[in-house]
Every structure is written in structure tokens, then in C-alpha cells.
């Protein structure tokens, strides 16, 4: 299976008040950061662990990777290309904030072989952007999209957010209509979540904002799915939609058990049955690297049970669980063993089953975790011995 490379750029011009990704506002450290990043790349190369992997995606995430210049991006990509087997025509994505890109920068990115942009629009309503404390407004978002298109990026994605307090159906439809004015290949529509340790969460705790109810969120969600499907954006994961064959290949790796190697603070890796995470503090990251230590904060070996559980919730949140593959890997004939449950889920309109896979419906996606839990619980309830015999 081809693998993916992820590079975490931990800088933002200003921290948005709902965001819990690791990033800091001190952009003066960017150059130094790139040096250390290159150090980490060299460290991983000399460890030699990844020499058997072939890569076909690279993803610059953040933070705000578009704070980096084309030169800085090239400085990072060069050692990657030199030391890893990266296929020609690989998908190379960078996340951009509308306020941080201009024509020149985009040209430089293109020259650095970036071929996919993911632009953090979040909303086309100024009131919502304001609420989210984004550094850009709706017009700037639109301008950046025009710019991207004019610069020749064909594989263009935007991020949007729903379930903002007081958000109505019309607000969502408005943003979607605006989005359809651009030749997008991909849209990620995320549900706003209240993450601990964010100011947004504080406001929630203090009763300053009232979140939508689950029912309200669910109806917004279902109308988003419907609207996007009508415009030819097919859902291929809980929050992701694309034109035919233009899914984000990199993100698919996370849900299909493919290996990925992450660089930069707070980046995650999955390789050889083990998951690990880099430290999420820039200075500690620097420090460990200068001591020639791995900048890890955590790593774990997956047990059989972990893998089975992951396989269920990852495949179901994406494009569906492939029956034969699952049976081979976990010695469990899910279709036969859980027939009662699967039948009732199908009749309830949560699931569709065909000969090769089980896949969630739109209604199912909005209960994805509930359904996965039910399936996992039922599997655990089955006699372990019986599992082993099949």
C-alpha cells in the first residue's frame, strides 16, 4: 500500500478561538523551524525504517502552512524527494489561509510542485467569520479562490464549518451557493466542535453561547449532504465530499489503514502496526532534535482488538467496510455473525449492504459512532472461540 507524508506547520497569524490544533503566533521562528524540520527528516532517513515505503501523497497541514514562502516549502520538499521514494504525479497539498496568499506565492508553490490547495474558507458570511475570529472576511476568501484558479490550480478544495451557534439552514445554503461559483473539486464540511482548552469552550461553559441541539445539528448536516450530492459532490467520509475521483488521496490514507509518516510538532505517524505522535511544543521539539532524540511524545503498538476496532470505525466513517478484507484480517464473518443487527440497521435506513461492503447512508453518517459502537459491542459479545474458528 502506498504511503503518505504529513508535515505540520505550527504557526498561525492569529489563533482562532475555536481551534485546538497545535500552532503558535510567533512567526519569527519559522526559519528556525524549517531548519529543525529538515533535521527531523534527516533523522528519520538515517534511521532507515521507511526505506521500503513508496509514497504518493504529501500534505502540508497546520497551523497555517501558507505562512511559508515558496522557498521554505522547497527547502522542505527537497530532502523529502531526495530521500524517500515519492512517485511521480503524487498529490501534494498545502493548506492555505485566504489572507496569507498572493499571486507570487502561489506561483512559487506551483514551482515547488504543489498541485493541490486546501483553502480554509470556513464560511462565506462575514458575521460567521467574525464569530469564528478568522483573520479574513468573505470577500478575501473569494478573492483567494479566484487567485488560486487563475494561477492554474485545478485541484482545489475548501473547508467549511457548520453548527455554529444560531446557524440556520439559510446560512448554510448561502455558503454552499457561494462555493458553487468556483470550480472546486473538493469540499470538507466540518461540524464545529467544542474542544476543551479553547476560548470557545470557555464561552460555552460560562453560558455565553448556546450550542445547537443535536437534532438541529443533525438536520443541518443532512441538508448539507443532500445539497452537495445534488451538485455532484459525493460524500466519501463523514465530513468530506468530492467530484468523482477527486477525493483527497492523503486523507484517505487515514481511513484505509495505509501507512503515513508525520513531521513537525504534534504530527502523527502510523507505520508497522504502531501509532505515534510528535511532541506538541515547538521548543521541546527543537530541544529533542538538537539532542538527536526522537521528538516523540507517545507511541503505541496496536493489539488485535485495537486494530479490529479501528478498522470498523475508520472504514465505516469513510467509504465502507469491505467484507472480504475484514473477514481475512480478523477471522470474522461480520455479515453472517451480526446479521440481525445489520438487518435492523438496514431496515432503519442507516446502512446499505451489497455483496462486497457495508456502507453508511447519510442518516447513518450522522450516527456513525453509535453504529460503530453497536457493531463493536456485538462482536465482543460473540464467543471469542467462535471467532477464532472461522
Amino acid at each position: 500500500m502506498t504511503a503518505g507524508l504529513y508535515i505540520h506547520i505550527p504557526f498561525c497569524q492569529r489563533k482562532c478561538f475555536y481551534c485546538d490544533f497545535y500552532s503558535i503566533e510567533n512567526t519569527e521562528l519559522i526559519n528556525q523551524f524549517v531548519d529543525y524540520l529538515i533535521l527531523e527528516i534527516q533523522q528519520k532517513v538515517s534511521a532507515g525504517k521507511y526505506s521500503d515505503l513508496t509514497f504518493d501523497t504529501i500534505f502540508f497541514g497546520g497551523g497555517t502552512p501558507s505562512l511559508l514562502s515558496g522557498t521554505q516549502i522547497s527547502r522542505i520538499l527537497d530532502p523529502l524527494h531526495k530521500n524517500f521514494k515519492i512517485l511521480d504525479g503524487s498529490e501534494i497539498t498545502i493548506e492555505c489561509n485566504p489572507r496569507t496568499i498572493d499571486k507570487e506565492k502561489l506561483k512559487a508553490y506551483q514551482k515547488a510542485s504543489i498541485n493541490r490547495l486546501s483553502i480554509g474558507v470556513q464560511s462565506f458570511l462575514d458575521s460567521e467569520l467574525n464569530f469564528l475570529s478568522r483573520i479574513h472576511n468573505a470577500n478575501q476568501a473569494k478573492e483567494s479562490l479566484n487567485l488560486a484558479f487563475e494561477s492554474g490550480f485545478e485541484n482545489l478544495s475548501i473547508d467549511l464549518l457548520f453548527a455554529l451557534p444560531k446557524q440556520r439552514q439559510e446560512d448554510i445554503l448561502f455558503s454552499l451557493e457561494e462555493a458553487y461559483n468556483f470550480p472546486l473539486s473538493h469540499i470538507s464540511y466540518y461540524n464545529l466542535t467544542y474542544e476543551e482548552e479553547t476560548p470557545l469552550y470557555q464561552d460555552l461553559e460560562n453560558g455565553k453561547i448556546e450550542p445547537l441541539s443535536d437534532d438541529e445539528e443533525s438536520s443541518l448536516y443532512l441538508s448539507i449532504i443532500k445539497n452537495l450530492e445534488q451538485q455532484g459532490f459525493k460524500q466519501y467520509e463523514v465530513s468530506n465530499f468530492s467530484k468523482p475521483n477527486l477525493q483527497c488521496k492523503h486523507n484517505l490514507k487515514y481511513w484505509t489503514d495505509a501507512p503515513y509518516i508525520g513531521f513537525g510538532p504534534s504530527a502523527h505517524s502510523y507505520f508497522d502496526n504502531s501509532r505515534s505522535k510528535n511532541v506538541d511544543d515547538l521548543l521541546i521539539y527543537f530541544n529533542l532534535l538538537s539532542k538527536k532524540e526522537e521528538p516523540l511524545i507517545f507511541s503505541e503498538e496496536l493489539s488485535f482488538k485495537d486494530r479490529m476496532m479501528e478498522s470498523i470505525f475508520l472504514s465505516l466513517r469513510a467509504d465502507g467496510l469491505v467484507l472480504e478484507q475484514f473477514a481475512k484480517e480478523f477471522f470474522f464473518d461480520i455479515l453472517f455473525e451480526l446479521r440481525d443487527l445489520l438487518l435492523s440497521l438496514t431496515l432503519g435506513g442507516f446502512l446499505s449492504i451489497d455483496k462486497t461492503k457495508i456502507k453508511l447512508t447519510a442518516k447513518g453518517y450522522s450516527l456513525c459512532d453509535e453504529i460503530c459502537l453497536r457493531i463493536i459491542k456485538d462482536i465482543e459479545n460473540k464467543d471469542i472461540e467462535k471467532i477464532m474458528r472461522i
Binding site: 443533525s218 487515514y254 476496532m309 459491542k377
Partner: protein
């Protein structure tokens, strides 16, 4: 025999029996003050210490050199105050010649003060009233009233009443002196055939059952062959002695004394509290009066949370019964909960203790059903039987009568709450029998009540409507025919047997409605809508539903942080594991106790 004094300490709950007992032990040198490191010496099991109550009686022998210069042997029994254990208390009283009746100087006479006093009078005991907790600041204002209450109650004179602070060790010596002088020495004939009372027994893993006994006549000696009247078993005595802090072997116990015996007895069930021990070869002519087989009053289904743990639970119950013979248990099955046991208890406190011990000492994860009483069913074909589980009730058409146990409840309350108490009891189908003023502002109210109405939150309600001042004591009187019906709960059209209850017809509609809405609160929204119905026979009397859940998904799952997501799901999964699955529906364990949290008034 003249230098022996046998006495118990009796009181309402929490008036300070065990604390006083500890002080007596300390004063007589049975324990050194160094050993008094824990607050309670006698209440030595963890549940007792945590709850601050006595669950199991404790007996201990002390030696005391009185001011008259003579040495005395004092046999003390500290008894539990809670009404669930009143039979045990009555047998302890039968083993003594005297009783210390403790009254909290700030609380005054309460329900169990009176019921215990009457039991002591029934056993012809010399009663020494002791006012405790005089160290409390509020005692200064309440003491005189409390004294008067005691005088009115016992008909003693003021000088008969002792005062002490068990906590601070004030007045302890005087109590010891009064025990020696006022309590008569035991009578009895050491040469007559053996006649001894079993007032308690405990199980020891190495020695089998250890019987606590009071010898009335004759001598109990090692190697003797003895005979138990009620169980009709005989044994050879292995060891006899008295209880100090540990067992103290003496080889024999003669008339008037209190001690223990060991005789290779395997089962606690073979030693019935209240039974008479005699010599197999020279039996006494008649057993000691007052023996009764204690019957469980309250029942509840106990099921393993995880069906696979059924055998484990069975083993745990078997072990538990080894040292608590008052529990009964029988396997039963429920379509909702699978295989489990119907267990019988002396009362609600006993039930709680057993559940807690199962979870803590035996590490069992259990689901229990709402406690119920034992009903007597008379069918139209005149067949009669008892049921311990509402689900066992036959079809309505076949039932001629249902009878339920009634109790006589004695409630003592300040008269300002009398109205509240009356209302509560009448709501609970009580019949007022008597009211007596104990003093100008304290009333003793007697009600006859169905026990079933008392097992639900009655006690808590009583406390809350009287700001904690009213106290309750009760005893079983008889079975009475009442207009009772079985109320079933249906979830998505299926009866959930473990949720069936038996209620009075008059109350059924209201009850059904409250139960439905409580269940609606407790059952979480899930993928499918859950219809909740309450029905009597085939007639649905109330309905509501839990709407289907519409959203449970974590939106973000990119950047590759799969571990966090898996852990979140695992946490949710643990929550789900604690739920029982009935068909498509997941029911949290608390739902099976929903009835208990319904506001009854």
C-alpha cells in the same frame, strides 16, 4: 455466679451504643488506649466503619474491680440499632439480665428507644437508663426535657438516670458501678441438664461456625455431645471459651455465663439464632422460649451485569451466606436480565449492605431489580401460594385474592410535624391506630401500613418531612387482602419482566404515568425510537416515547490522530457495556430501579 453481670446496650440508631461499649472496654482494661486508634473498636468491619453503624452484634467479656473491692465478670453485648436486625436484638436481650438503655441527650426518646425498651421489659431485664452525649453544647438546653421523657417512659425516678459522654469518656466509671449494683447476677442451676441459648453465630474459615451462647442451666464442656432443638442436630463440642478481644479458651462454661463454642459445624444455617442447646444424653425438658425462624421480608432480583459472570455470582452468594444466614437466594431467570437470583433480605438496610458487599468484597458487577415484598396469592381454584417476584403473578382471571404483608409502624415525631406524618402515612394507605403524647411536644403515632409502601423511600420521606426529627420502628403483623394489580412495562410492545411491579389498583394510573416518564428520563436516546407503555393486563394505562437519537459522530478525524478517537469510542463503549440490551433497546441499569426514584407524593 454472683460476680457475673450479663447486659446489653440498646438504643435508637446512632445514640452511641458502640462508642460507649468501646469506652467500657477501655476503662476495664480490655483494650489499651493505644489500641483505641481507630474510632470504633467493636464496629470493626469496613462497612460498619464507613457507615458508622453497627450491622452485626458484638459480644465481649470484661473484668472489673468494683469499688466494693470485688472482682466482677461483665458480659457485654453491643447490639445493632437498625430495625432490620430487631430479632437478633431480642435474642441478645434474652441472654442477659440487664440492659443499658442509651438515650441521646440532644435527640431524646425515639422509635427504637421505645421498641427496644419494650423488648427488654418483655425479657424481664433490669433497665439502666443512660443519657449520652452530654458533652454536646445543645445538650444543655435539651437535657431536662429528655430526662423527663425517660422518666415518663420507664417510670423511673430522676436519680435512676445516669449521664455520660461516651465520646469524651465522662461518667463511664459510674456506669460500671451501676451495672454491678443494679443488674442482678444470673440465676440458674449448674447441676441441672444443660440449657443454653444461641444468640449469635459467625463463620470462621478454619474452625467452621462459632456459636455465641448463654448458658442458663448446667455446664457446657468440651467433648460433650450436644443437641440443638430447632435444627435437631447433634455435635461434639471441640472448644469452649469466653470472648475477650480474641477467643479465650476455658474448656467449660457453666450456668450464668456467656461465651462461645466450636463443634465442627459447617453451615451457619445449622445454628439458628434463638435455638436452644442442650446435652444430647441429658436433655433439658423444654427449650427456651422466643425462638422464631427469621424470614426475609424484602426481595430483589440480583443479576450479573455480564451474563458470563453468572457462576461467579452464584459462588459469591454462597460465600456470603456462609456468614450471613439471613440472606436467601434462589436462581431465577428474566427475559430482560437473563439468569440471576431472587434474594431475600431482612429489610432495606440489609439489602443495601448485601449489594454493597457483593460489589466490594466479591468484586461482582450486579444489576438489581426494585425491592418488593412477598405476596400471597389465592387462585380461583383455591390454590394458595407465595410469590417473591411480581413477574410470577398468574393471569388476573385466575386470581381470587392477593394478600400483602402489613406492619405496625411506630413513629415518634415532634408534634409540629404530626400533620405531615399523618399525610404521608395515609398516602401510603396507612390506617391510624393510636396517638400518644410522650410529652407536650412529642407524639407517638401508631399506624398499620402495607410493608410494600414502606420499602419505597418511606424512611427518607419521613425524615425529610420532619426535618430529620421523626423516627420509625415497625414489626410485621399479618397478611391482608388488598385490591392489588400487576403493573407491566412494555418497551416497543414487549413486556420487560424485570420492570413489573405490584401496586394498589387505586394508585396504578398515577404510578404508571410516573414510571413511564421516569423511564423516559433514564433511557438514553438511541438509534431507534423507544415506545414506553405501562399496562395492567392488556389495558395500556400510560404511554410515552424516547425519540430516536439523531447524531453521534465525531466530525474531525484527520491529521491522523486515530488513537484519541479510538479512546473516545472505548470510553463510550464502556458506558454501553453497563447497559442491558433487550432486543434492539439498550437499557441502563438504573432503569431497573426507576421506581425508587419516583416522587411518590
Amino acid at each position: 455466679m454472683n460476680n457475673i453481670r450479663n447486659f446489653c446496650i440498646i438504643a435508637h440508631i446512632d445514640h452511641g451504643k458502640s462508642t460507649l461499649a468501646d469506652r467500657l472496654l477501655e476503662k476495664t482494661g480490655r483494650v489499651s488506649s493505644r489500641e483505641m486508634t481507630t474510632n470504633q473498636i467493636l464496629d470493626n468491619n469496613p462497612l460498619e466503619q464507613e457507615r458508622g453503624i453497627t450491622i452485626k452484634l458484638h459480644a465481649i467479656q470484661m473484668e472489673y474491680k468494683a469499688k466494693d473491692g470485688k472482682d466482677y465478670i461483665l458480659n457485654l453485648i453491643d447490639t445493632p440499632g437498625h430495625v432490620d436486625f430487631s430479632y437478633e436484638v431480642s435474642r441478645s436481650l434474652a441472654a442477659c439480665e440487664g440492659a443499658l438503655l442509651i438515650v441521646d441527650a440532644t435527640q431524646g426518646v425515639e422509635a427504637q428507644t421505645i421498641s427496644n425498651l419494650y423488648m427488654a421489659i418483655d425479657s424481664d431485664l433490669e433497665i439502666i437508663p443512660v443519657m449520652n452525649k452530654i458533652d454536646l453544647p445543645s445538650a444543655a438546653t435539651t437535657m431536662d426535657t429528655v430526662k423527663q421523657q425517660i422518666i415518663d417512659l420507664i417510670g423511673c425516678s430522676e436519680t435512676d438516670i445516669l449521664s455520660c459522654s461516651a465520646k469524651q469518656g465522662i461518667g463511664i466509671e459510674e456506669i460500671l458501678e451501676e451495672i454491678v449494683h443494679r443488674i442482678p447476677p444470673p440465676k440458674g442451676d449448674p447441676n441441672a441438664p444443660l440449657r443454653a441459648l444461641i444468640y449469635d453465630s459467625v463463620f470462621d474459615t478454619y474452625r467452621g461456625v462459632i456459636v455465641n451462647t448463654r448458658v442458663f442451666d448446667g455446664v457446657l464442656k468440651e467433648k460433650d455431645k450436644i443437641y440443638f432443638y430447632a435444627t435437631q442436630q447433634s455435635y461434639e463440642v471441640e472448644e469452649v471459651g469466653t470472648m475477650h478481644m480474641k477467643r479465650f479458651r476455658t474448656g467449660e462454661l457453666s450456668a450464668g455465663n456467656v461465651g462461645y463454642l466450636i463443634a465442627s459445624i459447617r453451615n451457619l444455617q445449622d445454628t439458628k439464632v434463638g435455638d436452644t442447646i442442650t446435652n444430647f444424653n441429658h436433655p433439658c425438658d423444654k427449650p427456651i422460649e422466643g425462638f422464631r425462624i427469621v424470614k426475609p421480608m424484602v426481595f430483589s432480583g440480583i443479576y450479573p451485569s455480564d451474563a458470563a459472570d453468572f457462576e461467579d455470582l452464584r459462588e459469591s452468594l454462597a460465600k456470603l451466606v456462609l456468614n450471613d444466614s439471613a440472606i436467601t437466594y434462589e436462581p431465577e431467570s428474566s427475559s430482560a436480565l437473563g439468569f440471576g437470583f431472587r434474594c431475600g433480605f431482612l429489610g432495606l438496610l440489609h439489602l443495601e449492605i448485601v449489594q454493597e458487599r457483593l460489589e466490594r468484597e466479591f468484586d461482582q458487577n450486579i444489576v438489581s431489580t426494585v425491592p418488593n415484598v412477598r405476596y400471597k396469592v389465592i387462585k380461583t381454584n383455591s390454590e394458595e401460594f407465595f410469590i417473591d417476584n411480581p413477574a410470577q403473578l398468574p393471569d388476573r382471571g385466575n386470581i381470587a385474592e392477593i394478600q400483602e404483608p402489613f406492619i405496625r409502624a411506630q413513629i415518634i415525631t415532634p408534634d409540629e410535624y404530626l400533620g405531615n406524618v399523618m399525610k404521608l402515612c395515609i398516602d401510603r394507605r396507612g390506617i391510624l391506630k393510636n396517638t400518644t403524647y410522650l410529652s407536650a411536644e412529642r407524639v407517638d403515632v401508631e399506624f398499620e401500613l402495607p410493608l410494600s409502601e414502606v420499602v419505597f423511600d418511606f424512611f427518607d420521606k419521613l425524615k425529610s418531612i420532619s426535618r430529620g426529627y421523626a423516627s420509625l420502628d415497625y414489626e410485621f403483623i399479618e397478611y391482608r387482602t388488598e385490591d392489588l394489580v400487576k403493573l407491566d412495562i412494555l418497551l416497543n410492545g414487549e413486556t420487560v419482566d424485570a420492570l413489573s411491579t405490584i401496586v394498589h389498583n387505586k394508585k396504578s394510573a398515577d404510578w404508571g404515568r410516573k414510571l413511564c416518564s421516569k423511564l423516559k428520563e433514564l433511557i438514553p436516546r438511541q438509534m431507534f425510537e423507544v415506545a414506553i407503555q405501562a399496562a395492567i393486563g392488556s389495558k395500556v394505562i400510560s404511554r410515552t416515547n424516547v425519540q430516536a437519537l439523531r447524531k453521534n459522530v465525531i466530525a474531525k478525524c484527520y491529521g491522523g490522530d486515530i488513537t484519541r478517537k479510538r479512546k473516545l469510542l472505548e470510553k463510550q463503549k464502556e458506558g454501553k457495556k453497563r447497559m442491558k440490551q433487550i432486543g434492539k433497546i439498550e437499557i441502563p441499569q438504573e432503569a431497573f430501579l426507576a421506581v425508587l426514584s419516583i416522587d411518590n407524593n
